[in-house]
Amino acid sequence: MPEASNPVRIILFGSLARGSGLKALLFVLQCALGIIGVILAAALAHSFDWLLPVAALIYLAIVVPTALLCGFWQAVIVSLSAVVVHSFFTARQALFHLAADPANTITDNAVTLVAFVLIALVVSRLSARVNRNAQQAETRGEEMRDLYEFTRRTLAMNLHSEPGQQLAELVQEIFALEAVVIFDADLHQTYQAGFWNQDPQDLAQNVYYFETADDDPVSGIGRRVLRLGAVPIGSVVVRGDTSPMTNNAIASLIATTFDRYRAFVNESHIETERRTEQLRATVLDNLAHAYKTPLTAIRAASTGLGEMGRLSAPQSELVALIDEQAAVLNELTNRLLTTARLDADEVALRAAPVGVRSLIDEVVSGLKERLASMKVSVQLEDEKLELCCDRQLMRALLTQYIDNACKYSIYGTTISIGVARAHAETIFSVHSLGSEIPPAERERIFDRYYRSSMSSHRAAGTGIGLAVAKRAAQMHGGHVWVSSSQTEGTTFFAAIPTAVLQRSFS
């Protein structure tokens, strides 16, 4: 891993440069110690004759440890000093004994010097490598420990709140960094820890937008894009002593934590939604049932008045109005009940073959009064089209679509109802001319209680109708959607799988 070892070396040199005064002093001290050792050894060797032949070995015993412990240059200096000191002592002895040949001594000394320097070189190189490896191993070990600690802490993190800030602080604390900034693209939030002398928000967002991932050894800044799979979800920028590998690991741990947070939020959201839904369904159910008694009394009273006769024409008209409105109220109550049941998943699909033509006729005749001001055209691909479905649910769906088309279309225009087979689905469509549904609302109008914000789309309604339509389609394994444009008008679609048909007949 040449990449990995590079910054380590850089850092080593960097720290060497930073503490240069101390290092020089240490260097001199080491050399001085070595030289003193050599002088002592030379003196010893020259005072005992039997030691003289092995004097070189004694020097070596000093040079080698110097090379090992202190370094090449110290060893070279000590070697040089050994040669000089030895020569000095030999020369001094020669004055008294004249035993050795001076020329010979000089050659000896040169050879010794070269040998010493070579040995010093080899030994110091070896020891430097060993040292470096040990140091790297230690750094790695530390980084691993930090990463392990970081992983542990992120796993233990409380995911009830956004994890960004906690993560930034954790990274800074655990990896002893000068500064950290994390950008969450999903929430468009920046979290920072430590001190930045430039705008950390810009820094992190640029990394995300330009997808730059690099390490700058001079400033100590590492940039990473947070990804889930191949998808960028944010970025992290750190300043301090970390290796690129560690930065990678930090980035992927942060990405994973963001992902876990999202999954957690989703899950608890779904669970909360489900519970609220159930509660609402129960409340609606009770409410709808509580409405039934007064409705029954009103209906019995009004129809009773009508049946008993003896009413003047205006009186009959008022009685008819009461009856009619009680019927409307009852229909609303029934719709509430249906929604409540659908939401609580209490409704079992009661599928049976249904003639599409008769179904549509039934729905249209049920909406006769509403449709009085509109033209209705029905286009069936095949008059004999049949579909295995829950008649009540499909009736609710189509009633809702057509009712909706009535409400939001231009007075007097045509509502076109179409049914066509496409692949494995039977597709119902209800088209009308009216104002466009904004693209942003096209999904949401199928949500419960959602009412369009557009004034042109405001009309009396409970805001539950299209949700019923959606659920009805879903219960058949189908789906709903809407297409809308200012010029073409609005079309609501419902695709119901035709495959249900085969299942019920087999």
Partner: protein
């Protein structure tokens, strides 16, 4: 006002409903006796006689179904109409299984209620029909002895099962027959859950006896509960409805 011809026991815990039902029913030729609970109704039934019972299913105390069960123990042929709400299909089926003659879904119109009461009372008052007696309703004529069915004089070819269904329904004309009862009668008890089966056969049957099978006139569906074959009176009402004049005729009917 002439002597009331039908004496009704109305059992409902809701006073609003009792108050709303009594005046029009009394006015239209029924004598109404009220009970607030099933227990009270049973006591009243012991001390005097009634032509029909209107029985709410949801009541405090022993409730509608249990009351029905106890009524049946002492008066097997007394017409009992259950008052129920939409979406309570299981209750309806249960009531039919326990021997209720019919049910009516709240909120209902007085006209609908009266028609149901009359049908039930008529059925009980009619001389007991022999199993193999000829049945004729509208255009449909069924001759059990020959297992023959004709429609406007033309023979209708039915399979054995189709005939079985039609016979069962026409024999009980006017009364809803639950899916389970039909399946048990025609196929046997082990088939009582096979509703899909029944639906397919009813569809075939309608194709043979109805003018517009998707909009049946004779063989009606009681959604989720079962089927019923109209009786002669219901056919007349069907034909008259929804002309306002018919309302007058209907309303005047009891006085005649």
């Amino acid at each position: 006002m002439s002597q009331p011809d039908i004496r009704i026991l109305l059992v409902d815990d809701e006073s609003a409903i009792r108050r709303a039902l009594r005046p029009p029913l009394s006015e239209l030729g029924f004598e109404v006796v009220e009970a607030i609970r099933g227990e009270e109704a049973l006591q009243l039934l012991r001390s005097s006689s009634f032509d029909a019972v209107l029985l709410d299913i949801n009541m405090p105390g022993i409730g509608g179904i249990e009351t029905l069960r106890r009524i049946r123990a002492v008066a097997p042929r007394l017409p009992v109409l259950m008052l129920t709400v939409r979406d309570a299909e299981e209750e309806k089926v249960k009531a039919l299984d326990e021997g209720a003659d019919d049910y009516i879904t709240k909120p209902f119109s007085i006209r609908e209620l009266i028609a149901r009461i009359r049908t039930a009372v008529r059925r009980v008052r009619a001389p007991t029909r022999a199993e193999d007696a000829l049945i004729e309703i509208g255009d449909i004529r069924l001759t059990p002895a020959q297992k023959r069915v004709t429609r406007r004089g033309q023979a209708v070819h039915l399979t054995r099962k189709e005939y079985g269904i039609l016979h069962c329904l026409m024999f009980h004309a006017g009364r809803p027959v639950s899916n389970a009862e039909l399946l048990t009668t025609v196929w046997g008890a082990e088939y009582r859950e096979e509703v899909e089966y029944l639906r397919t056969f009813v569809r075939q049957l309608r194709k043979k006896i109805e003018d517009d099978p998707s909009n049946p006139k004779y063989l009606l569906t009681d959604v989720y509960v079962g089927y019923r074959f109209v009786d002669a009176e219901m056919l007349l009402e069907q034909a008259a409805d929804p002309a306002p004049a018919a309302e007058e005729v209907e309303a005047a009917d009891p006085q005649n």
